[in-house]
Amino acid sequence: MFDDRYTLAYKRYPYKKSADQDAASPVRHPVVVMGGGPIGIATALDLGRQGIPTLVLDDHEGVGMGSRAICFAKRCLEVAGRYGCGKPMVDKGVVWNIGKVFNKDDQVFEFNLLPEEGHEYPAFINMQQPYYESFQLDRFEELQKDGAPIEIRGKNRIDNVEVHDDYVTLEIMTPDGPYTLEAEWLIGCDGAASPLRTMLDLDFTGKVFQDSFLIADIKMKNDDFPTERWFWFEPTHGGGASTLLHKQPDDVWRVDFQIGWDVDRKEEMKEENIRRRLDAFLGENVQYDMVWSSIYTFQCKRMDSFRHGRVFFAGDAAHQVSPFGARGANSGMQDVDNLGWKLGMVMRGEAPDSLLATYNYERIHGADENILNSTRSTDFITPKSEMSRLLRDAVLDLSEKHEFARPMVNSGRLSVPCTYDGSPLNSADALDGPARSRPGSVCPDAPLGDDFLLSKLGDKFILLTIDADAPDMIEESGIQVTRLALSTTDDKTGALRERYLGDNDSAVYLIRPDQHVAARRPSFDDNQIRAAIRRAIGKE
């Protein structure tokens, strides 16, 4: 009755009977999160840090063994950093900058990502997903010890829900049998196959790609492989139609073989067959152990709406992308970043329900951008038509000699945070400043002495002033906005000027708790800033 659907890498929250299971009538919780994957745990971290009681129900007892995500991008790390678990991730993760692209068997070019300086977090790290999840769970336990009202229950599977106007009833199965709970808010973080979607009979539409990939995580015994990303288009070694080699911590490499649509999964998953591909690819002399392998097919799909009354969807449950460009977990973290402060304010009565509608607007915008990018990468890697293949091959041919064609080679575009252009929470841009920090953008980081700008933002509304006067605190509609006063005289690297001022001598930015810009102007104006605050909390 309670079989695991996947093997655990770490058992972290063994089943324990809760008093709720013996209660005479269903106990009501303010927030229940369905699913203890990376997105569900992050949701609990966000809400727990705001002091909002949050209960996570997961049908397993810890972190799944499958590595799945390996590439965690800057924004994801910044959000984890705000929750208090970004540092150990960066310490564990592998940073790479050199990539090589091969066509047939020849290297066509090499690139260096040359990440921009002056950010606390790297452009991305490679790290096995179970580590990512473990660091979040470490933080979860730390917060619990510090008194945050968060809890996770293992082997608690939600089997049915009933949505009412102002609460949701949940039927939960445990090894001790079923029980019922109520939740004022339910957040569905139950993954790509989301049973919650099915229970509510909600559509998940988009595109399924007619291809499959075999992933093998292998541990090298003779380790002289460089820390680089290598991508082969149509290698002749016979391993796969395209092949990706990528470094992870612990001398583990991820190999991805594109193996076609009509494959016999069971046959392909046999160790001898995986080794045959690996040996063809790596050569006979390379010694390795197999750590984990899997076959996946992929799709780019999303729900029509991420909110249904008292129910929200986040992460893979809400949207699924192909893995090219590493946008799954990365975009799920941005869902949490977006939903956390909004739900917090509405639950505390500081903002109207309309603020929650903007979660849908902003994150659908994000999901569509991610789907677009990962669809394009997929189309480049696995061309759908003869002409699309001809053009792809032409790009690869040209890229060997001519620099211009290299940016056209698309084996996955790095996940960057979405800019919420046109969001109802933005005020009109009143500064002729850098495009990258226009209203709707996530604040770019910048060094401040030994510290960084982003570590001073977040969790609440901030009025950032650069060489501009403003009150130290503004109270508007019950919201307190504190000022962070900076000056270009402290901007030794010039990053602040370049990222926030452009040609202006001064600037005032209103920044949301998720570190997105809500409004900006050259100088402080009481009426305008107050209007911008009201707008940013859904009151205008």
Binding site: N373, R376, D379, F380, S385, E386, M387, S388, L391, D397, L398, K401, H402, E403, F404, R406, P407, M408, N410, R413
Partner: protein, 62 residues
Amino acid sequence: MTDLILTPNIDGVDDFYAELLAAHEGLTKEDSDALNARLVLVLANHVGDREALSQALKAAEK
């Protein structure tokens, strides 16, 4: 007389590439080839510069 530009020169190159693929979507191979031929001529006219066009022909050779 200008040298042919062979360094990246298109803003939003992914958007352009997607638009190019979209123009071909649903066409037979023959119609696609014809579209490409017309496109070459349109672009060549835009470039105009004879020397640059000769260089482009060289660059496209294998």
